[in-house]
Subunit: 237 residues, 2 copies
DNA sequence: CGGGCGATTGACGGTCATCAAGCTGTGTGG
DNA sequence: CCACACAGCTTGATGACCGTCAATCGCCCG
């Protein structure tokens, strides 16, 4: 029986049968440590488009994403938005540099997280170099991806941006789940536009152009990479 | 007497009188640890435009930047370049995620670094949670700055990009050295263009426009923020 | 059936890239 | 001492790419 829990309420579910553990920071923990950490975590569920934390907010918690997809973004004072990443199960969120969140995070569809009070989590991490190193690797990976995204934003054309996004998104999904013929796109066109530094219209036009050119096929809720080789060529490096 | 050392040669100089220690990861070390680390580090000097490490190269070393400015960048197969950051004294470089460098790094002017063999450095860090946490904070800060740079690249106009760059560069210099009336720009216009996702012509035009508008004054080797308030308004958030 | 939201398509214009000169300062050699 | 070369920077003319504004479509759901 699946229990539906709304944000703010807790659930009791064991780390033992956590699907994302091999992908999460928890993979660096021994069995007994895992039990200790379990005491600190709280399982929460968020509904579509519900905010999880916000830019400038005091960063009291950090999160393991268990299920669903989140958008991570920054807003400018005049409302312009830049999505800096999409989070998938296994991702660790909420690291902050000055006690406040540098970005905002929303659920895209339904989302389940494992939430920790930052202070107690920090205490747990304190003298566990294994876990510290694992967190290190996670941030370093994020930084590497951020560098690649800068290349995309600063130096690629609209068509290259869209193709690159689709190829990388497919690859990320393949890493955490079974490979599928169809690549689901849970985020809206507007989300994609704000991720790629484009407008929604340009994204839409580029999708249809790629479809006309036989590179992709647009299907309900996602796309199919009809000519993966050509898409990968556009995404080169 | 100042000793000039070229890349590949060593120098013996003590961490005790290291100017950048308070800004570097070393600030988290006790006196005795500092001495141990000193055994592992090697002081090296690089000439203007000399590469320090390169994308895809096996990452055998990591570096503390002691003096000078470096450009950190990624190259696309067709030669397009995106500068992902400029490094200043105190910065820690060479973190890699898969054993290979994700970016390239050059000296811009003359540069001095403290170089460590990654393996021995990793051994030193191993069971020093203080240092691990400090490195964590450094990467997290880099990631936060990367997020801000994504907003700039994806969502700001050319004028906003240049103004933002100048304001932030001035602020960074102020943090590690004495505040000065003139803001030196050791990097070329092309470097600035490749950092902001623009062409050199657009950067040049924007500089002259900002000067005509009384926002900046272009001087030998740098600029003066004539109307800092207006520049900061353009850089808002 | 009608309302509403997300996506698509079209017409148009602006911003910034491209191509091409010309400029400025610095170093070099006759 | 001046001509010259060269690299970095600036300026100008032109146009492409993508943003803006607006209309329409398709789909879901009440």
């Amino acid at each position: 029986m699946k229990k539906v829990v709304v944000a703010g309420q807790t659930d009791t579910q064991s780390c033992a049968d956590c699907m994302v553990r091999p992908f999460a920071i928890c993979a660096s923990l021994e069995q007994d440590e895992l039990c200790q950490l379990e005491q600190l975590g709280q399982r929460l569920q968020y509904r579509p488009n519900e905010p999880v934390f916000s830019q400038e907010e005091i960063a009291s918690f950090c999160y393991n994403l268990l299920e669903g997809v989140m958008r991570l973004y920054k807003l400018m004072p005049d409302g312009r938005r830049q999505i800096v990443g999409f989070a998938l199960p296994g991702d660790f969120l909420g690291i902050s540099v000055n006690g406040r969140h540098g970005i905002s995070a929303d659920a895209i569809g339904s989302v389940a997280v494992c939430r920790f009070v930052k202070k107690s989590f920090a205490g747990f991490v304190e003298d566990r170099p294994n876990l510290l190193r694992r967190i290190n690797e996670f941030i370093a990976r994020d930084l590497t991806e951020a560098h690649e995204q800068m290349v995309l934003l600063g130096r690629r054309s609209a068509e290259e941006k869209v193709a690159t996004f689709l190829v990388k998104w497919r690859d990320r999904l393949a890493q955490i789940g079974p490979a599928t013929e169809m690549t689901p796109l849970p985020m809206s066109r507007l989300d994609i536009a704000d991720y790629l530094g484009l407008t929604i219209e340009t994204v839409s036009r580029t999708f249809t152009k790629l479809e006309r050119d036989g590179v992709i096929e647009i299907v309900q809720g996602g796309i199919r990479l009809a000519d993966a080789a050509r898409a990968e060529a556009m995404a080169a490096a």
